[in-house]
Symmetry: C2
């Protein structure tokens, strides 16, 4: 049996940008579009050219790029009531976007036509037909039937009539939208099947556009594909209004790896899903969803001792797919629940796994620190140092004596914020005392620490801070609660995470900074008292 | 047609606690169990009495509580190989937990029996049968068939044989587990149906236990119910290992509000789902998942201008259910995409909606601040003050002149961390200068601010900080990036959110603190120069 191609239509840049806390710059949009084209997404909906300047600029810029087979779509609504399509500013903006595809959205649900648009049912049908006809002269037209499933449930004949108006006017795709996200898979399957039969005389293909309000968007999209839809609309990571659009990552992975008889994207695209997911999170400045299916940081993370034990024997025992198929990786977590198996897995890297007494000590210390708010799951560098400390193989490269930060606003005409740090360290027998300014107190502390050590350890020059995260551990007590700071650092070879916990955010940050620098110095095998003879040090 | 009752089995306290970053104290577990019983959950799996002291203590404590019809379950594995059930420490621990129900987990998948347990297929069947028989003398036994669906796909006869061993030995429920979360709804439906037919001679009912590794856990659970399962296992908010267990919130809401022919929980329980969800997040110290179906903060949040316009006409146009049915609420968000509709909705509270020029000014300022990293979605108090400022109705109750914080560690035998803040304010014509210590710099600043103002504005005494959150807005630049601080404050009547953004975490916190206090003073209608005559002020 031949595989049936299912086309992927991404609307991260348009419907996704409706998500709470999501805001893309023009450059963000261009970067995401280029990535989407690289993985072979078939359609990219770039924006709503009537709504803002940024989207207009996007369409101007994206025309200059070679996106291969990927088609860019401009999105807009049917013409306004009592106006010719050609005279409508929305229609004109869609044409002016000069995209190979225009996606036209119209009303399917009789209630929406009469109560929201305030037009007769007939005029709504005319608005759809005339808009599609006008746009089809310029580009391929995908017709998005808003509220299709709710509309069909309310008035099936009318819902089909609106589709026929678009199809007869030259639209080539009918995209059926579960706009409110409230439908069940069995409803999606039955209505999609009925719709395909009703449009048998029209030369159109069917798309599906689901939202996740009932946590069924992936199942609904797959149900529509099984019923005959050949295009799936959604967003990367499922970002979007309310509970989001369907997550295309899950749709693609399920179609490619689980369902039988379909092809999707092409080439090596699957292996780039994890990278694509994280790129979109970072660009949108959203936190990764650790538990995200297939690509989440926790998707192949193993914590329970029993599971870790089994994973070491055979990965498929607790993994539904090989994480590498989607570019993800297996992680063994450190936690009080994990028992000896996890500690052994990490300790094996230090060749310590046969020392039972040492393993017990490490486990006890992990439990003690976890009770204080530490979590080593994203702080493997701190965990590595912890193991070294307990094993007695840790050799400190410097001894913090004290630090102090001062921050405030200067009392001048225009308020100026400042932050300064002073630190005192000992390297070998030499005392160092230095200070630095920064944008904020943690940045000042970081600068002071590295400035002070750089002469002794020049390898610190290629180290940089990548991310800084703060979490209130017990949020019940407001600003007096414990603060957990995670710092991610990197050099040209790798990135590493460290952690600090304290009631004082400065102290928590300081601990994470010190660990980060120590980790770097350990991995570079720096001698504990520095590269510079002590007598040459200038304090 | 009579409705068929579907029982809800919660394993938040056991399988949920395997989730990354999840760690419950004994008290947490007791509090969650009591809440679960209050909403009428049928079974609560409390823990694994062999694994740790905390779970043993949980079963001792929970026995003293009246949980109504809710049954507590202790969870454990089949007896070890080459050992009598009665002699196995795991079996003994289960009996010692003295729970009305014991949940026994055993291996279904031939591969797991031979490769992980390292027993023959026959011995695995004996282990299941003998364990169930031993436990059934003490409690009702639910048999959890681990990897049931993967096991069935590999060797269907053997998978059914393991179930029959448990059923013949006295287990009353067969819970079919998609342990690796990799199955599709159509597979779950077909295998569940086949299993029910195969067990027709046994007096057992069927449960379903899904994981979300393919983002299909809700659809899979519903598919099993349609195929005849009458118990659904899962966790609140879907917390759990890897991608989590099925979210019982979505299962319950879909069964009660979407599917036909089933009853679930009872009474007014649905209305408590949002509260329950948030209680579990807070207790587990996890961040809320804003886009969570039904109960998320964004689940009924409307951002797009077009949508907000329609929502104002009729809620069902963009909402699949009435949010109140699950105890949630509608929110109108403020954002650059929202256009005039959203601003009008919020401004209407200030009776400003008819002033077009003012609306334009507010919109422009929101866009400007959003570009700097502000997000007013969780900072409605700051947004209210912003509107007042632009409308000219803001009357500052105090003028910050300067602040300074100092934090560091004292240079004594034992390291002591300290934080101090000094601030200078003007109230009316009076200058105030004061200082305070705190656990950290933000706490010190907060204390100093309120200490300084309390004499003038005694109403501040009933205000408290509830939560403090920090977000790096541009995480690419490490500690030099912009910092967004959100503070949630409250008094006996309400809670409110404020925001501050700066490269300096102290400055960002200061702005959010100042807004929080100003909001409180505005809502209490405090006179701008305080309640105390200026001449009585002591600086």
């Amino acid at each position: 049996m031949n595989s049936k191609p299912i086309l992927i239509y991404d609307t991260t840049l348009r419907d996704g940008s409706q998500g709470e806390g999501v805001s893309f710059s023009l450059n963000d949009k261009l970067n995401i579009a280029i990535r989407l084209a690289e993985v072979g997404v078939d359609f990219i909906e770039g924006g709503y050219p009537l709504s803002n300047e940024k989207d207009v600029a996007f369409f101007q810029e994206i025309r200059k790029r070679d996106l291969g087979k990927t088609k860019v779509c401009a999105f807009g609504m049917t013409r306004r009531k009592s106006m010719k399509a050609a005279d409508d500013p929305g229609m004109q903006a869609l044409v002016a976007a000069q995209t190979p595809v225009i996606t036209l959205v119209g009303k399917t649900w009789d209630y929406h036509a009469t109560e929201v648009l305030r037009v007769t049912l007939d005029e709504n049908v005319q608005m759809i037909g005339e808009s599609a006809e006008f746009l089809a002269k310029h580009s391929e037209v995908i017709y998005d039937a808003e509220h299709f499933f709710d509309g069909f449930k309310a008035n099936p004949e009318y819902a089909i009539e609106t589709l026929k108006a678009a199809a007869s006017a030259g639209a080539t795709w009918m995209s059926l939208c579960d706009t409110n996200g409230g439908s069940l898979p069995e409803e999606i399957a039955a209505i999609t099947e009925h719709t395909i039969q009703s449009l048998a005389d029209h030369n159109v293909e069917i798309g599906i556009h689901c939202h996740n309000d009932s946590e069924l968007a992936v199942a609904n999209s797959l149900a529509a594909v099984d019923a005959g839809a050949t295009q799936v609309q959604g967003t990367i990571n499922g970002i979007g209004e309310r509970c989001g659009n369907v997550d295309l990552i899950s749709v693609i992975a399920n179609l490619a790896l689980k369902k039988k008889g379909y092809t999707v994207l092409g080439g090596n695209s699957l292996k780039h899903l994890t990278e694509l997911s994280r790129f979109v999170y970072e660009t949108a400045n959203l936190q990764w969803r650790n538990g995200q299916a297939f690509v989440g940081q926790s998707a192949f993370a193993h914590k329970g001792g029993m599971h870790v034990h089994a994973i070491n024997k055979a990965a498929k025992t607790y993994e539904h797919i090989d994480p590498e198929m989607v570019g993800n990786e297996r992680r063994i977590l450190v936690s009080e629940l994990s028992g000896r198996s996890n500690i052994v897995a990490v300790a094996a890297e230090h060749n310590l796994q046969d020392d039972r007494e040492l393993m017990d000590k490490i486990l006890a210390e992990v439990v003690r620190l976890e009770n204080k708010g530490y979590q080593f799951e994203n702080a493997t560098a701190s965990f590595n140092l912890l193991i070294k400390r307990i094993a007695g193989t840790f050799t400190p490269h410097f001894h913090p004596i004290k630090y102090r930060i001062v921050a405030g606003d200067r009392n001048s005409e225009e308020t100026t914020v400042f932050a300064e740090a002073i630190i005192k360290l000992k390297v070998g027998e030499t005392l160092w005392f230095d200070a630095a300014e920064g944008n904020g107190p943690v940045n000042a502390l970081d600068s002071a620490l590295r400035k002070t050590l750089l002469g002794t350890y020049p390898c610190l020059s290629d180290m940089r801070l990548i991310d800084y995260k703060v979490r209130v551990v017990d949020s019940g007590a407001g600003t007096a609660a414990s603060i957990r700071v995670n710092i991610e650092s990197g050099d040209q070879d790798e990135t590493w995470g460290t952690i600090g916990v304290s009631e004082n955010i400065i102290e928590a940050s300081w601990r994470a900074l010190v660990d980060s620098v120590e980790y770097k110095l350990h991995k570079e095998n720096q001698p504990a008292e520095g590269n510079v003879p002590v007598e040459n040090a200038t304090a």
